[in-house]
Amino acid sequence: MQPQTLSQPTLLSHLRALYALIRKDWKQYWRYPLNAVSSVFQPLIWIAPVYFMGQAFSVNGKAIGFSQYSGTTDFMSFILLGTVLESFINAVFWGMGYALKNDMDSGVMESNWLTPIPRLLILVGHSVTNLIVTAITSVGMLLIGGLIFGFNTSGDVWKAFLPIIPMMLGLYGFGFAFAAVVMLMREANTLVDVSSFLVQIFSGSNFPVNALPRFLLPVALALPLTYGLDAVRAHLIGTKTILPLQWEMILLVVFMFVMLWIGTAAFKSLERRVRTLGTLGQH
């Protein structure tokens, strides 16, 4: 007499669950259209003073000082690529950082955790949407920025995806770990603000890292994103690289595996903690 359950878990149903997670985040993102517009235009506003500063330091329109460090006089293409990475760093620190905390604060975390899917899948869903949406707004920004400031690529655009893939996977693996950390903090805004900003600066988004004063260089060299951006720029606009390209690729792949492992472990640890202590900071 008991009702028959409709739940039939299979591999396919898990994939469908992931797809549902992505679709849900996607729909929610585009229902705040101003955010999307802001993501395209805000970076361009931040580029403007850099552009004019570049003009102030160019001789006869050419960034000759700059080329001594970077290997190219195309300052704006350099900057635009760096700005794309900055968008992703922002998206991971703020978007992924608060992914779980927002779920918890709005009340939907419990309903999601009550469903029979692996809870890590929820975080994967958030990451995929975040990645796709940021990619879209970055391309938009790149197109418009190219029109305003000028963007030129030489070299093989497709080869640039070689470093992009492990770099992005590593970055989002970090995002998992960061989401877990933010959950544990009562007030995470300052941490997210400062660390996001510092990572953007030291990964070489706005200048070639070899222009850094000696004592700051190790910070930049310790960030895997530095090598990723460096490799992408080398492929797209022909800049000098910090290390030979193959070395940078290997570093990126190692980074990817390490970060994915750390991120997953951090999340699992958080999940255990929530199961033992209840929803953190239950209001």
Binding site: M1, Q2, P3, Q4, T5, L6, S7, Q8, P9, T10, S13, H14, R16, A17, Y19, A20, L21, R23, K24, K27, Q28, R31, Y32, S106, G107, V108, E110, S111, N112, W113, L114, T115, P116, I117, R275, T276, L277, G278, T279
Partner: protein, 352 residues
């Protein structure tokens, strides 16, 4: 071994106490002895723990509606959260639909439809339909079946013409209905409803109670928590009363009421009360615990007394209060309610 829908054995849940509260048992008494002076090499003092659930046993039969009642802080919501796998017990075991809540958590989640925190449990920036389609996928419901099921539930919850609007535009009642539909999506054998009628207007609450009764007819087992006595009384086959982390009473509603010593309450409303009348009433056999209470500023008094046999006592009561300027305005014989049982057992009101 009988096949219970939900079976819990000695569930215990302890939380690290917040600093300054120290070890406390769930009833508020301190569990630590006064601090002694610490020796330099003494072992580190164990962390102070707060016991929210202190050995709960439950056996809920398939197809029954089981009401869980308890005042705030009794351990009700902690018990619920353990049963639905959001929280792990410190010790003890429980099985939901035959699945162990710790080791077979996914099995439990597939078997349960839950309604926790009503309108906050759904996405406000999605439509009602989108919410249901989303959760259907998370419950592994095959796509073709899911679509049909979502339509069916939207129809049943009478949300057909608003299903494609964002939930943020719904009223509280409508959001609650989406949340209930969500609980019913996978047609789970067991439903866990936490304060389902909280915040609903009387008509909506009544509709929901009818729905709960229907769901029982359809074969669902329902574990219900509520603050509303009449609701628990009306709906439940059996009721468990939980207080200070333990189940202190478990019986049918009638059985629980019978516990309160078969007393009836006689309630009189009269004018012209004199204190000597109280003494006279006390002399009647079986009459006890006379309380009087003046209503407002007018000369109107409410007099309550407990009687073992109200029929026999009535004529004597009327005799004593007639004459001398005393006039009887109203008289009621009141059966003890579940609220009275509750107060009798716990010493507290349900809503404090």
């Amino acid at each position: 071994m009988t096949d219970f829908a939900i079976e819990a054995r000695q569930l215990v849940k302890m939380f690290p106490a917040r600093p300054g509260t120290g070890d406390k048992k769930a009833n508020g008494e301190s569990a630590t002895t006064p601090r002694r002076r610490r020796w330099p090499f003494a072992r580190k003092e164990p962390k102070a723990m707060f016991t929210a659930v202190n050995g709960v046993d439950l056996q809920i039969e398939r197809g029954e509606i089981f009401g869980l009642l308890g005042p705030n802080g009794a351990g009700k919501s902690t018990t619920i959260r353990m049963l639905c796998t959001l929280l792990e017990p410190t010790s003890g075991t429980a099985h939901v639909n035959g699945f162990d809540i710790v080791r077979q958590a996914n099995g439990v989640r597939r078997s349960l439809g839950t309604l926790l925190a009503g309108e906050r449990s759904i996405y406000w920036k999605l439509t009602g339909r989108e919410n249901l389609e989303y959760f259907a996928a998370l419950y592994h419901i095959p796509q073709a079946v899911a679509k049909q099921r979502v339509d069916e539930l939207i129809e049943r919850m009478e949300l057909k013409d608003r299903a494609n609007e964002l939930v943020e535009k719904y009223s509280t009642g409508m959001r609650q209905r989406i949340a209930i539909a969500k609980a019913l999506l996978a047609r789970p054998p067991i439903l866990l409803l936490d304060e389902p009628t909280l915040g609903l207007d009387p008509q909506a609450a009544r509709n929901l109670r009818e729905l709960i009764a229907q769901l029982k007819q359809e074969g669902h087992t329902i574990l219900l928590t509520t603050h509303y006595m009449e609701e628990a009384d009306q709906l439940s086959d059996r009721i468990g009363i939980i207080d200070t982390g333990k189940v202190i009473a478990l019986d049918t509603p009638e059985g629980l009421k019978r516990r309160i010593d078969q007393r009836e309450i006689i309630r009189l409303e009269l004018t012209g009360w004199h204190d000597e009348i109280a003494d006279k009433l006390k002399s009647i056999a079986g009459i006890e615990n006379i309380t009087t209470h003046q209503q407002g500023e007018a000369d109107l008094w409410e007099v309550n007394m407990q009687a073992q046999n109200s029929r026999a006592a009535l004529p004597r009561i009327v005799e004593h209060i007639s004459g001398n300027g005393t006039r009887l305005v109203n008289m009621n014989i009141v059966k003890p309610s579940l609220e009275d049982v509750f107060i009798h057992l716990t010493g507290k009101a349900l809503r404090d």
